[in-house]
């Protein structure tokens, strides 16, 4: 069900394009600054290795963008990642092999997503409240199972998943992330699914009246988000080689920050996948650069916060100034 590109109002396109171009400029500037600051940045192996540290978050950001475009949000993704990892750890201790572990992770993630979606859609309650509840529930289950312990025994071939390379160069999680990014971009911008998503993100009532099964879409998007969390959990667990109940703590807010930085409005209905993908690389390269010059990760959060606020404030300030100018001219 592919559809052709229709021509939306030019003004909106201009604004969106401008935001993606700004992101691209920021990305180039960061890369330039990085290569100026450290001789180790522009090394192919280093660059590809650095993708490992953001590919998992990127997987979560892709599906989270769809949720946010549809006026929903999922604060529990990081907890789902931890839950999937705990299930994998338990299964591994029972002697389950690599394919079984990955299948279980994806399955548990999808089920957790369906649990979120089911409550949100079934009881008509805001996604933010439900996922604030499930974030404690999912992570709470991890603490009940593990206490302050950890699972550290994983089969040898499982480690290859998150630590292995395609052609001895490209980490597997980066390959999967690129494929997923391409798939999400196609779905959002080239199919009727994407078109309907924007429709109900902009105006759920109108979408409902025009026959879009809004609740079904929302439910399955939560399921998809859980599924991506399952995939991310498999890679993260394999890369770390251990499961702790506090793993991926704080990732949910980082993921939302990436999505918003990518130009997706938290009010729903707007944003592009290209923007989100660019934001993924902006964050990834910035983190990598700061690591290269030995800036502690926590200081990075200052930069992320500033970037997030500036990203949203800038267009508003520009609009207000131009409005004031227009009024002054009259």
């Amino acid at each position: 069900m592919l559809i052709g590109k229709t021509a939306p109002r030019r003004s909106r396109w201009a604004v969106l394009k401008r935001w993606e171009i700004i992101l691209l400029v920021i990305l180039v500037a960061i890369c330039a600054a990085n290569s100026w600051a450290s001789p180790y940045f522009l090394d192919l192996h280093n660059l590809f290795d650095s993708t490992q540290s953001f590919s998992e978050k990127a997987l979560l950001a892709l599906s989270m963008s769809l949720l946010i475009i549809g006026r929903d949000i999922d604060l529990s993704v990081a907890a789902i990642v931890a839950l999937c990892s705990v299930v994998m750890g338990w299964l591994a201790s029972q002697g389950v092999g690599m394919p079984g572990l990955v299948a279980a992770s994806v399955g548990v993630g999808t089920a957790a997503g369906m649990f979120n979606g089911g409550i949100i859609v079934g009881f008509k309650v805001p996604a933010i409240v439900v996922t604030i509840g499930t974030v404690s529930l999912f992570r709470g289950i991890c603490y009940i199972v593990l206490g302050d312990g950890a699972y550290t025994e994983y089969p040898a071939d499982f480690a290859a998943l998150g630590q292995g390379y395609l052609f001895d160069l490209i980490p597997y999680e980066f390959v999967v992330m690129i494929v997923a990014a391409a798939a999400f971009t196609l779905i959002v911008h080239r199919t009727t699914i994407g078109r309907k998503l924007y429709a109900y993100g902009n105006n759920p009532d109108a979408a409902r009246y025009s026959g879009i099964k809004v609740d079904a879409y929302r439910f399955w998007l939560f399921a998809a988000n859980g599924c991506m969390a399952g995939v991310a959990a498999a890679f993260l667990t394999s890369r770390m080689g251990a499961t702790r109940p506090n793993m991926a703590l704080g990732w949910d807010l980082e993921v939302i920050a990436i999505v918003v930085l990518g130009g997706v409005s938290i009010a729903g209905g707007s944003g592009t996948m290209i923007g989100v993908i660019l934001a993924i690389f902006v964050m990834g390269m910035m983190t990598f650069g700061l690591e290269l010059i030995n800036v502690p990760g926590i200081l990075m959060s200052i930069v992320v916060g500033l970037l997030l606020i500036t990203a949203v404030a800038l267009p508003i300030v520009v609009r207000k100034i131009s409005e004031r100018r227009a009024r002054a001219r009259h």
């Binding site: 409240v129 439900v130 529930l137 009940i144 206490g147 807010l253 200081l299 959060s301 997030l308």
Partner: protein, 330 residues
Amino acid sequence: MPSLLRRRETVLAIIIAVLLIAISLRAPVFLSAGSLDTLITDSAILAIMALAQLLALITRGIDLSVAANMALTGMITALLSHAFPTMPIALTLGIALGVGLALGAINGVLIAWLEMPPIVVTLGTMSIYRGMVFAIGPRVDAHQLGAQFIAFPNERLLGVTHIVWIAALVVAAEYVFFHHLRRGRELYALGGNPAAARYVGIDAARVKLLVYLGTGLLSGLCGYLVVARYAVAYTETALGFEMQTIAACVIGGVSIAGGRGTVAGCLLGTAFLVIIFNALPIIVSPFWQMAISGTSILITVIVNSRSERRRGKHILAPAAGVTPRTEAPC
């Protein structure tokens, strides 16, 4: 009578009473004077912060930066106490309130004047403030703090700790604000129906600015209290506490969709959480804490959704004696 029974506050109070009886049957020590004293002192900070969050939630907003604000204000007062160990306590309190207010003002200006979504703004300032705690700290230990600085919150007046007196003062102030001041009623009006609020001449920007100044002020106050009570300021001070404040509100019947919520509900929600947190280590294991609080949030949300839907039907077919949604139950 039935109307009293149908009120969320009454139901919650009954649940808490049953909970207390059940716990004291298992562990009678829980109801001893010493244990209750600790319980009330422990709940003071959460109570103040839940009341702060209430301000934001009623106006359809949210403040995710409260915990980071506490950590940063706490760190600043701790560093000052380290530098000037004999600093009078009134000055410390003044600085805590001032710093908290300033950090809240940043949120307020961005949300009220630039009309940015509260969740994005406070997500951003949350990570900025948290990063700054590390940048200026990262740690001040008990032996580096002034004696008076640590002693003040735990000192007693008429047998009750200062920290509880301060909480009582905040409760009284917020009760008067919501029930007897026009500005307080405006919060409900704005949250219940922003369009109608504008038509009756409520200045939304001014109300929102006031709200985030309020959350900032109370966060600053609690920042000092939490650092002094636990005699340590570090990067992880109050980490994740914003979720607890939201949980206390949601359990207490505050609607995330705005316009609904009371001081009493907030306090009962706080009591519920604190009892669970303090009783679990005696009854089962502290690792059950998160899962139980998550489950309570989900149950409350589902119960809430049903009562709110009933209300919705009333609005469609107005009958005598039906309270409009914008009016808070007193």
